[in-house]
Assembly symmetry: C2
Amino acid sequence: MTSGETEPRARLDEFALIAKLFAPLTQNMPGAFALTDDVAVLAPPAGHKVVLKTDSLIEGVHFLRSDPPALVARKGLRRALSDLAAKGAEPCVYLLALALPPWPDMEWLRAFADGLGADQAEFGLSLVGGETNATPGPLTLTVTAVGYVPNCALIRRNGARAGDRVYVTGTIGDAGCGLRLATGNAATVSEGARAFLVSRYRLPIPRLSTGLALRGIASAALDVSDGLLADLGHVADVSGVRIEIDAAEIPLSTALRELWGDSIEARSRAAGAGDDYEIAFTAAAPGSPALSEIARRTSTAITPIGRVVAGHGVAFLDRAGKEILVETKGYTHY
Amino acid sequence: MTSGETEPRARLDEFALIAKLFAPLTQNMPGAFALTDDVAVLAPPAGHKVVLKTDSLIEGVHFLRSDPPALVARKGLRRALSDLAAKGAEPCVYLLALALPPWPDMEWLRAFADGLGADQAEFGLSLVGGETNATPGPLTLTVTAVGYVPNCALIRRNGARAGDRVYVTGTIGDAGCGLRLATGNAATVSEGARAFLVSRYRLPIPRLSTGLALRGIASAALDVSDGLLADLGHVADVSGVRIEIDAAEIPLSTALRELWGDSIEARSRAAGAGDDYEIAFTAAAPGSPALSEIARRTSTAITPIGRVVAGHGVAFLDRAGKEILVETKGYTHY
């Protein structure tokens, strides 16, 4: 926290209240000191490495002021958890830096803390440290998620090899469509489909159990945030390979099909939409029996969508194997 | 990074450029993956715990848009390092989340990265992870500093005991005064004093070597950010003791005395000013010979300023031992 020269005294009092509000979220983790000390302390389990991810959620960019505060909190947390999931890491604790404008009242903050608590219970996490600063700008929460992974078990981006197959969990495009619905797109759509798609945008599901199960099986993985094709472009780039995706295999939810249909054009939009927070990964072929078992055990669809070949870049192919020019593929730096 | 739905494609390209600009700052740390993967991985040394601190630096609150970008970067880093220093932890790596408005150009960002590089060299650090997001608001950098401390060596806030003495490193009040000078206070002051005071505001010095040397000697410690008296209030509160500070003993720099004199009133202002990033600590009396040796070895003044007694709260005493009512003491929640 900064000096009284730059932060009004009243805000320092408010921030102390916030620390008290958030203190129960530490759940008596010994190294959190109930947020009464300056740092958090962790003792990683023997034979494990520490896995870290920091990311921000920003009002007006990633959420709206009118969004339910619990969902804002959970989305901020889940974005970071999703990265750990895709790497086969097990999240354990997190730190929270809050840049707080004047508008949120204690009721908003309490609901925000409740949202964190709900996800902590769901994912087995504790808050271990935090800091609140005043901002004249949008509310910005920065989560640093900390997890553990056994030595050598981390699933990197750079392990894709020619001959591997490419897979993705869940369905693609829901969040991109949900954002359009949430921001006033008046598409004719059933209430059920609308609710599903908007919740896929507002509350991503980090695929933690699937990620853990993919240790030793996936050769490369990441979570889909920029868009399936853009993100697979990252894998292709750092692995030094070419990735071919079969457009017809992109998994679409029933709700998304209700709006967009299941044409190649719909699948192209889905593959460029982003914010899916599914895991895209590669694995040596044939991996299907093990993957079917993982899908069953973690109640998460795993769909084969393409293959890794020699070369570079990402190709999006129609049923005839001809490359489709996708409008949204050109924005990556590959 | 969020989806193309909410971030313009051009910004995603820009963020990829920033990752490339920052990649050399990882200095080939194996777990940083040159910023080409989603997470950072650390292997803490045996017998050590991991110490974590996250904090944000916000344009318009903690720095001005016109400030030199290298200083902005270094101040953001040093605020977090200062917390580790006061705990006796050795910082090793850090993660950086950048909320980036449209105004900084690549030249600004390059100078910002150079500032990080300069401090990395000075403090023996590496960047291991980062994320850039677009913001419609002020530039906000959130640093998560990661350090190590031998098991049980962490210096807590809650260890102060009646009979201990209270100490502070360096001088107090310089940064508070420097901020007023930097923001246009037209006080008559020598160029040398002005430069010193402004630099104390812009570029705090984390007392890392002194903090390490205080392991096993300090019974409680924290870095002075809210203001000396307010921060000692935190120590008194969680230690369950009363702290008495002798106003006349507050160490003032020559430059500060040139502006404020060395009256009790000047010392009161200094003790309430904040942003000093010195270490305030308690230690069993008599600790003076060991502390003199630490001060000499780390080239950092260590001044006894008071004592720990039974009771609660912080008292600021004049030469006659009478409590001085300090305007800025009332804003703490103690």
